[in-house]
């Protein structure tokens, strides 16, 4: 750096630069096609008739667009012996996800607030224990949970699934709020305490108003996790209370009758729509949630 002339800046000719840019964009385009192809195939297949699927090919556009498959997928496809389509299960997933997301976010916010701002002996150990719980393979709790749900009389019910999702979501929601609140100066809490404000008062008037971004991150993370869950759904539900992912898998693997690939694809898109929508609308927060648990800081 002391002698600028000794290593002059390499200049590429404008043509080389243009060619390199061109190759770069081609590469980016090819990868974009790789990621988009399955979605494209799903959508086009769902709009084709079965005859066209049998004769046509995967990447061609439908010759004749038909929404029959969508109608069947929504309200007529068979998940084993029942043939009510995805609708009831879509509703189940909403009934499971909405309360579970809200409860786990509220508890996570309070936990995070305590761990970050009201440190007491053992609070850090609690946090470490909780954090570790995020990483266990859930197979290790599946059997005892089945027994406990039975003892509580909520096995195979929607409240049972809400309960399970709240319990195993707490680690992440607490982590989100703890990491967010830790960056708020503790002098704020101390000053408020001096002024006579109590635990909940400080949370309510100081912390909660600052929390909107992290609430969004937590809600989106939990919603995506719970909506996309399959393991708990398939283990702890019974006919009638299954979430949408289990219903989709049953429709696709149901062996009765003709294999209707267009219905399978329509059902898959229906199952994917809510989380895709969330991703498109609030992608920034989705990525923040994904990276929150994995990046130091």
């Amino acid at each position: 750096m002391t002698d600028m002339s000794y290593a002059p800046t390499r200049t590429q000719s404008p043509t080389t630069k243009l060619v390199l840019r061109f190759i770069l964009y081609i590469l980016l385009g090819v990868f974009a096609l790789f990621y988009l192809m399955p979605l494209f195939v799903m959508i086009t297949t769902s709009l084709k008739s079965l005859d066209e699927i049998r004769t046509g090919d995967l990447v061609s556009l439908p010759r004749e667009v038909t929404f029959d498959a969508w109608r069947t997928a929504w309200s007529g496809a068979c998940t084993g012996i029942q043939c009510e389509g995805m609708r009831p299960y879509f509703l189940n997933s909403l009934l499971i996800a909405i309360p579970a997301v809200l409860i786990s976010t509220i508890i996570g916010a309070l936990n995070g607030y305590v761990v970050a701002q009201w440190k007491f002996k053992g609070a850090n150990i609690f946090f470490a224990l909780l954090l570790f719980g995020c990483f266990i393979p859930f197979q290790v709790v599946l059997l005892p949970m089945a027994i406990v749900l039975g003892k509580l009389g909520i096995s195979g019910t929607i409240p049972g699934l809400i309960f399970v999702h709240v319990i195993y979501g707490l680690g992440f929601t607490t982590l989100f709020f703890r990491n967010y609140y830790v960056s708020i100066p503790s002098e704020l809490t101390k000053a408020a305490k001096v002024d006579g404000a109590g635990f909940f008062r400080i949370f309510w008037s100081i912390f909660l108003p600052l929390s909107l971004p992290i609430i969004v991150v937590s809600v989106i993370w939990q919603f995506t996790q719970i909506w996309n869950d399959f393991l708990f759904g398939v283990s702890f539900s019974q006919a009638g209370t299954q979430p949408v992912t289990v219903a989709l898998n049953n429709i696709v693997n149901s062996t009765t009758g003709v294999k209707e690939y267009n219905v399978d694809m329509a059902a898959a898109i229906i199952a994917a729509l809510p989380t895709l929508l969330v991703y498109v609308v609030a992608g920034k927060y989705f990525i923040r949630g994904l990276t929150a648990g994995s990046v130091k800081g």
Binding site: D57, N111, A123, L248, V295
Partner: protein, 290 residues
């Protein structure tokens, strides 16, 4: 009384979660560990009976297949997703005008359920009507692509679908890492005439070591937990050619009625996660306390 309540409110608020974690995480792990040391079959039994279940696991060809599959799938999935993610991040780091849109496209599979991903790829890889038929239709009459039903190749379809789903996420991690490298150093290197690829290989990438570790942990964790993808894509088949420990555990627990085997295979999974995650978490928490 109110005074006591005031003083102890933080502990009172934390107590339910603490109890829940102790019971539903650690208590349950202890339960599973104990049952894995019994002769439980259809019903859990609690009389200790040495390591019989682990001996059965060791003797089971199906579990051996599951562990070998986990090794193949885990290695390929982690390596390919990391390499692809890094490549995409570097390509996207070249001041691309449409970066936002491209990033959205690369990352959207991460928002999908593994069941949706599995369903989509199962159809694309369908030996009769999927890619094979499409390429045949283009005039290549002898083209064959039946990995999905080939016991030796089916595990690679799981790798393909998993990479498709997760590589965008790795890209996002690496892109954030590339952006956090000090711009001044990069500029100085460019002024000195160091070619771009050297700037990446000698300056930027080495400074991202913590992000490589993070990506590795997340991917390893995803690989060990992979369950839904296999169920949706291959159902563990053909036969049990694509079984993973997770699907083995599920089959033992819920269709074979062999609780002892389910518990012991779950403990093996737990052990694999432990050996990878514990050192990481330990170092994370320690540096945070400093």
């Amino acid at each position: 009384m109110t005074r006591w309540l005031q003083d102890n409110m933080p502990k009172i608020v934390l107590a339910p979660s603490f109890i829940a974690v102790m019971v539903f995480v650690y208590g349950f792990i202890a339960w599973t560990a104990w049952v894995s040391l019994t002769r439980s079959r259809l019903m859990p039994r609690y009389e200790f009976d040495s390591f019989i279940q682990y001996e059965r696991l060791a003797d089971s060809p199906r579990f051996e297949t599951a562990m070998v599959n986990l090794a193949i799938f885990g290695t390929l999935f982690i390596v390919i997703a990391m390499v692809l993610g890094l490549l995409l991040a570097i390509l996207l780091d070249q001041k691309i005008r449409t970066e936002g849109a491209i990033r959205t496209i690369y990352l959207y599979p991460m928002a999908l359920s593994m069941i949706v991903t599995g369903t989509a790829w199962k159809w694309i890889l369908n030996p009769e009507l999927g890619i094979e038929a499409t390429v045949k239709g283009w005039g290549f009459a002898n083209f064959e692509f039946n990995w999905l039903v080939d016991p030796d190749m089916a595990i690679y379809t799981v790798v393909l679908a998993a990479v498709w789903q997760s590589s965008g996420f790795v890209m996002a991690l690496f892109l954030a890492g590339l952006r956090s490298v000090d711009e001044e150093i990069i500029k100085a290197a460019q002024v000195d005439g160091i070619p771009t690829w050297r700037v990446y290989s000698a300056i930027i990438i080495p400074s991202m070591a913590p992000i490589f570790l993070s990506a590795f942990i997340v991917l390893a964790h995803l690989a060990i937990k992979a369950f839904d993808l296999v169920i949706a894509l291959t159902g563990g088949g053909p036969g049990y050619a694509t079984d993973l420990p997770a699907t083995y555990m599920y089959a033992m627990a819920f269709s074979r009625g062999d609780i002892g085997q389910a518990a012991s295979s779950a403990m093996v999974m737990m052990l694999v996660v432990f050996t990878i995650v514990v050192p990481y978490l330990y170092s994370e928490l320690r540096t945070k306390d400093d």
